[in-house]
């Protein structure tokens, strides 16, 4: 009972961890390169969710400070938001790079299945 209570309390981080697992498994297990990229994006989003949920304060406002109000706990913690902002941009850049790479690979080999690709290169090697 206590455990369930705890899980429900921390539902954001628990969800984040489950998503991380899903993304991680897809990044590792999928043979289709496009799906690997999707898995990577899910994994990164999960980490962002974990980070951002740490900065949330029950009943607080967004961190846009009004004139005069200086009670710090009235706002959520701005640090995780900033970090996640950085993370989102980084993950988009990485996705774009890997998608471009996938296009070139398809152009060259006509497939995006990693198994086939690995087999082809083994044959091609000197």
């Amino acid at each position: 009972m206590d455990l369930i209570q705890r899980i429900l309390e921390n539902r954001f981080s628990v969800t984040a961890v489950i998503l991380f697992g899903i993304g991680f498994a897809n990044l590792m297990l999928q043979y289709n390169l496009v799906k690997k990229v999707v898995g990577f994006n899910i994994m990164d989003s999960a980490v962002f969710l974990l980070l951002a949920s740490q900065g949330y304060i029950e009943g607080a406002m967004p961190p846009i400070v009004a004139e005069g109000a200086v009670e710090a706990t009235a706002y959520i913690n701005p640090i995780p938001s900033g970090l996640v902002l950085t993370g989102i941009v980084v993950s988009v850049s990485v996705s774009a790079f890997s998608l471009a790479l996938i296009q070139r690979i398809y152009h060259k080999y006509g497939t995006v299945d990693l198994r086939e690709l690995v087999m082809r290169t083994e044959k091609e090697e000197d």
Binding site: L3, R6, I7, E9, N10, R11, F12, S13, V14, V17, I18, F20, G21, F24, A25, M28, L29, L50, S53, Q54, Y56, I57, E58, P62, P63, I64, V65, A66, E67, V70, A72, T73, Y75, N77, P78, I79, P80, S81, G82, L85, T86, I88, V89, V90, S93, V94, A96, F97, L99, A100, L101, Q103, R104, H107, R115, V118, M119, E122, K123, D126
Partner: protein, 299 residues
């Protein structure tokens, strides 16, 4: 004697590189079962496939096991971590309090997130802008048309597609683009310029600007964009954006670290506003660059 001689000749041949070194016999006790060599080209195809199949069949199992273990450990970890949404969590210490209380007088931004990423931790954000720059450069290396990645056939195909697009212009898309582009541009500019006192800022505003460009390009073709946004302009804007950031923030770091006075006024967002504009330019260029490279392979 003859045995020794043959050993010597074998060694000589090995030294000359004619034989594979006899590693498997030398170290069989150290490494357990004999490992197979890398397949030669002459190896029959079936064997090669079998070997690969061996690799590909244990690999998923192993990584699935690793994944499950990882998730288990992480679940235990997050349950032991501070509870969700409590004020007394370790993250809510003096640092965010300082940010929230002093962001107005120290950075000139009332949006604490913008103040944090562009002023207190601006070096990280410079690195992040460089990541974008780097990604678009990588995409250029990969997809910019050259003799390696484009054959004559590809060019012809692209031309045919372009002509077909010109013949059958999509009226709905064009009208929508004509109607929406100005508003999207306006909204992007608003987000860009208001980043210091409202949600938004360089990254999202720049992405919206880039989105407007993409919409325009996909409705009217890239030739329409190229009239005012060709490769030269593109490179200039992108480099100027990043250099603006580098120079402004470099000056800020230099003066700050040496205890000098910086002459950056704090009204209208202080350092945040110019850096937001710089970042916005970079992001808009990056997004449009991705689109251009992904569709046609040229700007």
């Amino acid at each position: 004697m003859s045995k020794k001689e043959s050993a010597w000749t074998r060694f000589a041949a090995w030294v000359n590189g004619e034989h594979e070194p006899a590693e498997s016999r030398l170290f069989s006790m150290g490494m357990g079962p004999r490992k197979e060599r890398r397949p030669e080209i002459t190896l029959p195809k079936r064997e090669e496939k079998q070997r690969l199949h061996g690799f590909l069949s244990w690999y998923p199992v192993a990584s699935a096991v690793i994944g499950v273990i990882l998730v288990g450990i992480l679940l235990a970890t997050v349950l032991a971590m501070p509870s969700f949404g409590q004020v007394e969590n370790p993250t809510n210490n003096e640092v965010p309090a300082h940010y929230l209380q002093h962001t107005r007088e120290e950075t000139g931004a009332s949006n604490a997130v913008a103040g944090m990423i562009l002023n207190y931790r601006g070096f990280d954000t410079f690195g992040e802008s460089c990541v974008l720059f780097l990604a678009v450069s990588c995409v250029f290396i990969l997809l910019l048309r050259d003799e390696n990645n484009t054959s004559q056939k590809d060019l012809e195909q692209a031309q045919r597609r372009e002509q077909r697009r010109k013949r059958r212009q999509d009226v709905i898309l064009q009208e929508a683009a004509r109607l929406l582009s100005p508003f999207i541009l306006l909204f992007g500019a608003y987000m860009l310029l208001g980043g210091h006192h409202s949600p938004g800022g360089g990254f999202s505003g720049g992405a919206v600007l880039g989105g407007a460009l993409i919409l325009y390009a996909s409705a009217f073709g890239q030739d329409a964009i190229r009239r005012f946004f060709n490769e030269k302009v593109y490179n200039t804007v992108r480099v100027i954006g990043l250099m603006l950031y580098a120079v402004l923030f470099g000056y800020y770091i230099f003066t700050g670290a040496n205890g000098l006075e910086n002459h950056i006024p704090l009204d209208y967002g202080g350092l945040i506003l110019p850096i937001d504009i710089a970042v916005g330019l970079v992001v808009a260029c990056t997004m449009y660059g991705f689109y251009a490279m992904f569709t046609r392979g040229e700007l």
